[in-house]
Amino acid sequence: MMNTIDVHLDNATEFFIMTPMIKSLHDTIKQWTWCGLTGGVIVGEARCGKSIGVRSLKESIQSRAGEDIPIFRISIGNRDVKTIRSVYLRIANKLGFKIKKSSTSDEMAFLINMHLVEAAISNSSHQVILIIDEAQYMTVDQLSVFAEIYNDLIDAHCNCTVFFVANESQFEPLAKELIKNENTYLRERFFNHIHAFYGIRNQKELKSCLKRYDAYVLHHASHKTATEYYCPKLYESGWRLSDVAATMWSIYHETCMKPLKHQSWNMSQFTRTTNILLMDYLEKYEIELNDEILEGLIMRSIEASGIHPNIHAFVGRHV
């Protein structure tokens, strides 16, 4: 049966649901772009879905005039030597240029600028968006690359908007650096606006996410949704996955959120939990499903998803 579906829930590169949080992120980016902001930061806990959120922006967003504003995403890696050249090299490679080993920062900057200007002039507002993921790995010096790109594009009568995506916990040192006066040129351009990205913070948001599973089509030919596909009898009886939102939230809140002091249920843990629940447990227990069984299944799904950090227990045993 599994071979016949078009999308596998456990394939993280394929599976995507538009959550209220991602919708909110898109709205913010659109709003920033429409307002002509030069940049902004999206911060959130690790694995809460920020990268998936910005990746789901597709290749462009629409301007006020309905034109496509091109988006380029560059993910920065953590390196032991953090040079300005490495940022240019990363961007140039990400854009697809075959850079010579001997290329200087200036030469790469030229190519990058030209590419961005070419993209920008495709719309009448001459805008282009850069999204820099994992920005917490960058130094202030490296951030100046984007200030230079921004300035160069202004010289070419184009507007470059740079959005940085960073992990909240690791971003703090960089943020402290940016507060300093000498970094005003960076702060004013790119870091004055912050969007806090969260996982699921309440039952309502959870229900909304579960509803996406109910509507998520796994098999295009038959239009079967994830819920219908894995729990056909329950689905036929009118049951929906979103119906378990209250129970699920209650269990998560009591067993994980409070004790682990989570601000939100991050999306990777949530999808893992839900996928296990749907694909492994509900499929097997759908005939005899009642409240008690459901609670048990949810608890086992949460445990299996790895929310409880075993590494903590491991470390604790060996201290």
Partner: protein, 461 residues
């Protein structure tokens, strides 16, 4: 990945520039890599052609040149452009711009910067690089590796400045030229002689005035571009428009008060020539089967000279012909049977009358007079004179056939060579054009085997 160079694209640019901006916008990326990537994107162009041409073609396709700002009229094949010596404006070169317009020899000045076009780069003192040289030229003005700072400093990205306005202006002019239909400006490399079109060339006094009078908009726009009409080397008039142009010429009715003035001008011009030239030269008419036309090429001076002799034969009492001949001619034109066939120019009639030429008092069917600019009048007069000659000749033929018993005619006809028997040909439908340094006469005829050599002027010595 490669940059197309659209950031540096400007309306009216040449393909040479399309290629250059492609190279410039890709900085120091290797040419072989770029070519390989283009080969993937445009495999259809990389089968048999040279790499260079293919890149150029691929770029051409990829830059959407169908818009009005890049008129196709100026897009030549890259090959021919490559063979030409590049002419460019030093300032345009710095901002990575070149227009096909600059390849026209009659354009000597950059319309954007009002500086002279050159064949050499003022920075490296080498000739502007050809297609093949572009990739390896290391020069801040004409080379491939231009810095971002440099491009910004020379306003290469400045679309809001007068560059675009000027370019749009030029585009409008080119569109105007295209719409003019009758006129095709050709680049110096183009050989239009084998197309059957008429080719106007420089070095004729008449040429600028013809352009001015026939195409007032064209000339004013070219002047606005800094082009001196006198410097235009060649103007092609399409075959299908020859007749239309002929009508245009005939429509010019001059209001000049000529009598004495005309004589002075003609005598002044011709007296010198008469010394140099004799009428022994034959008017050699050649029949063109495909055109159905007889043509004869003579210099302006020769025609004037011939006309002058003929004219003298009619009106100069010192010559064998008498004034009575002229009177007869005049009467025939106004009242005789040939009236409907001969369109004698009013100016000739006045000359023949020997009185002040006030055309308003002259009774003619053609009431649409045309006031010409002062500097055109003299040239138009020359046309008129030659037309007069042709009309006179035509009328003589008519007289010979119709009024053979006329004594005056017989006297005159005796001076014509015995071999001159242009039966059944219609001399009245002729068109006169300058060609090179000469004039081209075209006669329509239904018969292709008529022998017009030794047409007869030989005998009027």
């Amino acid at each position: 990945m490669y940059n197309i160079g659209s950031a540096l694209k400007r309306p009216f640019e040449s393909k040479y520039n399309t290629y250059r901006r492609f190279l410039v916008s890709n900085g120091n990326l290797s040419i072989s890599n770029l070519s390989a990537e283009l080969r993937i994107d445009y495999p259809e162009f990389f089968q048999s052609k040279a790499r260079l041409d293919c890149m150029s073609v691929a770029l051409h396709l990829n830059t959407n040149d169908s818009d009005a700002s890049s008129p196709s009229i100026l897009y030549r094949l890259s090959k021919s452009e490559e063979q030409e010596k590049i002419r460019n404006c030093p300032i345009c070169a710095e901002m990575c711009f070149h227009s096909s317009l600059y390849q026209y020899t009659w354009v000597t000045q950059c319309p954007l910067h009002n500086v002279s076009l050159t064949t050499h780069c003022p920075t490296c003192h080498q000739q502007w690089p050809s297609y093949g040289q572009l990739a390896n030229r290391k020069c801040n003005t004409c080379g491939r590796l231009l810095s971002w700072r440099h491009l910004v400093q020379v306003n290469a990205f400045d679309e809001s400045s007068q560059i675009i306005e000027k370019m749009s202006e030029i585009s409008e002019i080119i569109i105007l030229l295209q719409n003019a239909n009758k006129v095709t400006l050709v680049s110096s490399s183009e050989n239009a002689n084998n197309t059957g079109n008429l080719v106007f060339r420089e070095n004729t006094d008449l040429f600028p005035s013809v352009i001015k009078s026939l195409y007032p908009h064209l000339s004013s726009h070219l002047i606005a571009l800094g082009v001196d009409i006198k410097d235009i080397t060649k103007l092609v008039i399409r075959k299908e428009n020859i007749q239309a142009l002929g009508n245009e010429v005939n429509r010019h009715q001059d209001l000049i008060n000529v009598s004495e003035k005309v004589k002075k001008v003609v005598n002044k011009k011709i007296k010198k020539e008469v010394l140099k030239w004799t009428c022994k030269k034959l008017l050699k008419f050649k029949y063109n089967n495909s055109e159905g036309l007889y043509s004869c090429i003579r210099t302006q001076e020769e025609l004037l000279e011939t006309a002058y002799y003929l004219w003298l034969a009619f009106i100069d009492p010192n010559k064998e012909s008498t004034p009575a001949s002229a009177v007869l001619y005049l009467q025939s034109i106004c009242n005789g049977p040939g009236y409907n066939l001969i369109s004698a120019p009013p100016i000739v009639l006045n000359i023949l009358k020997g009185e002040s030429a006030d055309l308003s008092s002259f009774n003619t069917n053609n009431s649409s007079y045309y006031i010409l600019p002062e500097d055109v009048k003299e040239h138009v007069f020359e046309i008129r004179l030659i037309q007069a000659f042709l009309n006179i000749l035509g009328y003589l033929i008519y007289l010979r056939d119709a009024i053979k018993h006329d004594l005056v005619w017989l006297e005159f006809s005796e001076q014509l060579p015995s071999r001159f028997h242009p039966n059944n040909w219609n001399l009245f439908n002729y068109i006169l054009f300058p060609q090179n340094d000469n004039y081209l006469l075209l006669f329509e005829s239904n018969q292709s085997k008529l022998n017009f050599k030794n047409i007869g002027l030989y005998s009027i010595e």
